[in-house]
Amino acid sequence: MAGMDLTTRLGAIELRHPIMNASGTFDVLEADAVLQPDLLAGFPFSAYVPKTVTLKPREGNVPPRLYETAAGLLNSIGLANKGIEAFMEEDLPRLAALKAPLIVSVAGERTADYGVCAGMLADRSEVAAVELNVSCPNVELDGRALGCDPDRTRRATEEARQATSKFLIVKLTPNVTDIVALARAAVDGGADCVSAINTVHGMALDPWTLRPVLGHGSGGLSGPAIKPVALRAVYLVSRGLDVPVIGMGGVTTAQDVLEFMAAGATAVAMGTASFRDPLLAGRLVGGLETLMKERGISSAAGLTGRSHG
């Protein structure tokens, strides 16, 4: 559309439109083998975030790992991944063919792991940015997520900051009393950007046996059901801090993208909605353009934070 500027920036990283994918919900290497179009060449998202990797491989949680709730999805995947070494050896070279900036998501069972992982990626040119997933169960905190503790979050971010000069994103968990305090801790530790939100703690019972459905007992809720929670988090964090925010949590329609941007997001990520339609993101871009035009907004930059008044 003439005169519309959908590009947006995360530091020096230019995105051709604001919609990226959320970690753990789109595996481009797997999907490329299954879906018709060539996904590496015609990637629908403006940046690619693979599934979180950890220092050592993780098997993940015992199944069942998924259960659908009202307009939402509960999952307890348990950060199943092949480990950062295998990722760097097997996946990174293949991802170099991708026509979008690559943001690698890492997590650790210990605070120090964040520095080690960030350091391993520091001089890989395929990697545009590093995202710290602080929702991993932490052995130093009796299995609670490090992202629930401002002090640990700051220290993990510092470790990563010292290990890399790449653009550093900290992905916030909503399962805290004061998400702005956690965001501030990340920025104090050296984060260039925060993303919000990861999944919301939740549980479902089997209607017959009345036992928890998920093998792990409880899990993380995602999808449209959590959008209001996420929107508020993005609003509060972007008002409270001076770094760009990547907004996510239930983004499913072009209207959702518009609202997350207006709430203060510089870019948005789509997760669960990709399970409804793996190529949805690409088509929402046109929808976003129309919605902006109808409202007399001509650029993504002009949309960000519109709700702040």
Partner: protein, 285 residues
């Protein structure tokens, strides 16, 4: 700021937005399919929809991810459904309504539209020779129709054993009338009383000199599959192969979410891309 549009617009997802001209054209992985048949088959419902691409590509044991087309966000995700049968441009699925998603799909009427991704997964391997012993339990009989047809085309001799809880489930045995099936029900209301595992040992006999060993194909509930796997591994006939199709909870169907895993000897494997058909001996029972 521009004036508000006179009519509030529903915030649909991209597919539906296309109708209102607010979506750029782009590659579509999902097929938008029209339902042309919807009829009860006892406790189940047979739904057929038009999709030439899937019909041309589908292999026995593969599945589709299906949901209602439209912006409704509850049910949110598509559900995995085995491909029951194919015509030149038709796909049939057989649905057991057990909850929200399957219940809604089973309520599809002629003319409704479904959003369908597929064909997906690794189906049955049809390379081997030897007698085929096909074992189905409950709704697990569904994908065995396409399998039986493919084996018949290859001239494989087969035994088809279908087991159900009750008469209303056993009505689906009628879908297999082209094949000579044996029906078992737990309550004895149709066919023989008992479980499908009972006749199985009698099917797994040493083949005549120089002939390949029998091969088992099974789809059904977990306990049935584990009984089948145990019986065939203990039958004492060398070379018996057992392929099982497993059902797990799925979100993406394309290998993205890691939600659908089952335990195999070397760790978890994804049912959507590495299965749903596995060699029984690969899995942990």
């Amino acid at each position: 700021m521009a004036a508000r549009p006179a009519q509030p617009r529903p915030a649909g997802d991209g597919k539906e937005d296309a109708v209102k001209g607010r979506e750029a054209p782009g590659p579509a992985a999902l097929h938008d399919c029209r339902v042309v048949e919807s009829r009860p088959v006892g406790a189940y419902r047979l739904i057929s929809f038009v999709c030439r691409e899937i019909a041309a590509a589908a292999r026995p044991g593969q599945f589709v991810m299906v949901r209602e087309s439209g912006p409704a966000l509850d049910p949110l995700l598509p559900r995995p459904m085995g491909i029951h049968d194919i015509g030149s441009d038709l796909i049939s699925i057989l649905i057991e309504p057990v909850g929200k998603g399957s219940g809604r799909l089973a309520a599809s009427k002629v003319g409704d539209r479904l959003a369908v991704l597929g064909p997906l997964g690794r189906g049955f391997d049809l390379q081997k020779k030897g007698q085929a012993v096909i074992v189905g339990g409950g709704i697990g009989v569904s994908p065995l129709k396409l399998l039986a047809r493919a084996l018949a085309e290859r001239g494989r001799s087969m035994r088809l054993i279908l087991g159900f809880k009750s008469r209303d489930q056993a009505a689906s045995a009628g879908l297999f009338r082209d094949f000579d099936g044996e029906v078992f029900t737990e309550d004895g209301s149709v066919g023989s009383r008992g479980l499908v595992s009972e006749p199985l040992p009698g099917c797994l006999l040493p083949p005549p000199e120089g002939e390949p060993a029998p091969e088992v194909f099974a789809c059904g509930p977990g306990p049935m599959l584990s009984a089948v796997a145990r019986i065939s591994s203990e039958c004492g006939v060398p070379g018996v192969r057992t392929q099982v199709s497993v059902a797990t909870h799925m979100a993406c169907g394309v290998g993205s979410c890691q939600g659908c895993v089952v335990a195999a000897a070397g760790g978890y494997v994804k049912a959507c891309t590495e299965g749903p058909v596995f060699d029984a001996e690969e899995l942990k029972w």
